[in-house]
Symmetry: C2
């Protein structure tokens, strides 16, 4: 079983890039990752492509990767088209890791790409296909019927709103805490040139923005956007060619949700990832987590073991998860401010962590970062996410 | 790198199953594969789900596997949703093999499932999304404009028709040869209780059936249908528990097409598969190949090295590829007569070959079958398929 390293990373700007195409975004991310790794396209032995929405948004189903990668020089290699809703990118990465571990290939590439801003209403509809379809009617009833929410742009934000109300009631966290997550991640994004939103905001700005689904205001919700991120992974023979610190994939643990949701998919993925990497939550120096809405970051602190149950908000208030704290979370700006081009997010998180572990993150660098964790969730199976993936990277 | 074996297989009937659902078909195939392997759902460490058309046909995108498998007991395991057009099933299988080879899991499951008959026009449209979308307009022009074809239900059958015209002109094969492929595979299907069409036909029946796209008549084209097929693969420790002959996955080689198409995707996949398995075309005792239209079977003979270039039709005429011949091809009935529920086909081929290698194929058993080969193609990149997968199984 080969040890696996990150050989190269590429990342386009995230944002509303109406004049781009999935193909151009994919080509840019691949080119940057190849240049970073010092590899030619012909050296890539397998390619895994995460995308969530192009089928419904553009009609391009079935062979999306072949269409997106047509001008990259990668055609000819095995190309696998992967979906797992918002966890499509990390799922693609997990397959690239397996391709190298299995000895199938010395080098493999994972890419996540999403182009969503051509039509907002259709983009929201496409995101909703990450819910089991027969559940959508029931969810609409429970969300709109019982709670009298008058405004909700996206079913998934209504689901997040419902979860947030329960979380606030159970944990003693406040709306100010949720706003503080958004403020923190926007501060981080202000230091990331690839982020979708970079102007700093205050707690008052967040609380005063339009209500989307009680208690979630607009600035507590991740935006619709476009972008691509790619990683090349390789075995130790290939990795030895690269100078500077090496980033090893210590573990990559994907799970699906269950009908019961207990223990949660995120906590099960984390337990496996820690065990496989021989490490634990206290060892993590920097993390990227799936803050599709602000309260999710607080509950994920607890599911990952960064905080004890009920103490997610306390961890936030301590300042530990802000840049400069003991365990910065979402230094990229997170989904909330870096942006959330759905299929790209899982790869984007891992690009950020690789850059952090290499010590190349500039003004948002976490000092002495050695162990990094990414958590990427996708879809809704009620009450669990449909997929959760936890990856642990280590600097060697 | 673990050696990989087929631990169990499951297969539903193929056909126009209007009263079924993807979930029920998937549940039936999984249950049969688990029973065959003597395993419980909780012992499956990873699940790979091939489906091509449910996104457009039902709106269920992003987390199709979690939706289809909700009642199988498999939720909780990693579930990866895979697309590669008509090669989705073999792509899922290749990932299951990698999961075991990498040591990620002792046991993994691949399933292909497709439910297409609810609406024929939409099913045809969905199949066309296996072409790069900007090529579709150009293809329509070239097919309908230059050749004055008055009737064509499916763009892909027009593509096959165009390829067939060139093949006939170049190779000296005749329309009777194409019809003979259909007759042979229907004879095989008459011995397969899971096949969609089981009543025998004659060369005259085939040539006299409605013209779809010159020279392809209706009986030279694979039908739209529904069905599911599943395989469980495992490492040697697990395989040792099973009595009877063991079926080893000697190689599983996936490639993508190229813009040039030379050498073809199928021939590249075959070359890799033979090399990795340490075998060659003369050693193959039984094969399943992607006869989406009758002429494809003849050109695939050549691409796989079963016949020399230009001699595919001669191999057919020799009778060697008919049951009782030296190298029977498509003993299941093939896509033409067993049926072609798109995402299920790649797994279905491997189920047939496993049953053959176990000596359990009843009236369609190939005697002394020891080495089996499956070829599954998917999508159209012009001039190559978008994906091709060649798998070699060996009885031990």
């Amino acid at each position: 079983m080969s040890t696996v390293f990150v050989a190269g990373v590429g990342h386009t700007p995230f944002g509303r890039l109406q004049n781009e195409t999935s193909r151009r975004l994919a080509s840019a991310a691949v080119r940057e990752a190849l240049d970073d790794a010092g590899l030619e396209p012909g050296e890539i032995g397998a390619v895994y492509v995460g995308n969530a929405a192009a089928g419904l948004l553009t009609g391009q189903e079935m062979i999306r990767g072949q269409a997106f990668l047509r001008q990259t020089g990668l055609l000819g290699a095995p190309i696998v088209n992967v979906e797992n809703a918002c966890a499509s990118g990390s799922t693609a990465f997990s397959l690239a890791v397996n391709a190298v571990r299995s000895g199938m290939s010395d080098v493999a590439l994972a890419i996540g790409v999403e182009m969503m801003t051509m039509d907002k209403a259709r983009a929201i509809h496409a995101i909703e296909t990450g819910v089991v379809i027969e559940d959508i009617a029931a969810l609409r009833h429970s969300v709109y019927g019982d709670d009298d929410v008058s405004c909700g742009e996206s079913l998934l934000m209504d689901v997040y709103g419902s979860v947030a109300r329960r979380f606030l009631a159970d944990s003693g966290a406040t709306a100010e805490d949720l706003a503080t997550v958004s403020v923190k991640n926007r501060f981080h994004a202000s230091l990331n040139p690839n982020a979708q939103f970079r102007s700093q905001i205050t707690v008052e700005d967040v609380l005063g923005s339009r209500m989307v689904s009680e208690p979630l205001t607009l600035l507590m919700c991740s935006p619709i956007g476009d972008g691509a991120a790619a990683l090349i992974v390789c075995n130790s023979q290939r990795a030895a060619r690269r100078s500077g610190p090496r980033v090893r994939v210590a573990s990559c643990s994907l799970v699906s949700g269950t009908n019961e949701g207990r223990p949660s998919a995120v906590s099960r993925a984390a337990a496996r990832a820690y065990e496989s990497a021989g490490t634990g939550p206290d060892d993590v120096d920097v993390a990227e987590v799936h803050d599709a809405a602000a309260p999710a970051e607080l509950s994920i602190y607890e599911e990952l073991g960064f905080a004890r149950p009920g103490e997610g908000a306390a961890l936030l208030r301590s300042g530990d998860t802000r840049l400069g704290g003991a365990k910065p979370v979402n230094t990229s700006g997170g989904l909330l401010s870096k942006g959330h081009p759905v299929g790209a997010t899982g790869c984007s998180q891992l690009v950020e962590l690789t850059v952090q572990l290499r010590g190349m993150a500039g003004p948002r660098q976490v000092e002495h970062a050695r162990i990094a964790l990414a958590e990427n969730g996708g879809g809704y199976l009620g009450p669990d996410p449909a997929a959760a993936c936890v990856t642990i990277l280590m600097r060697e």
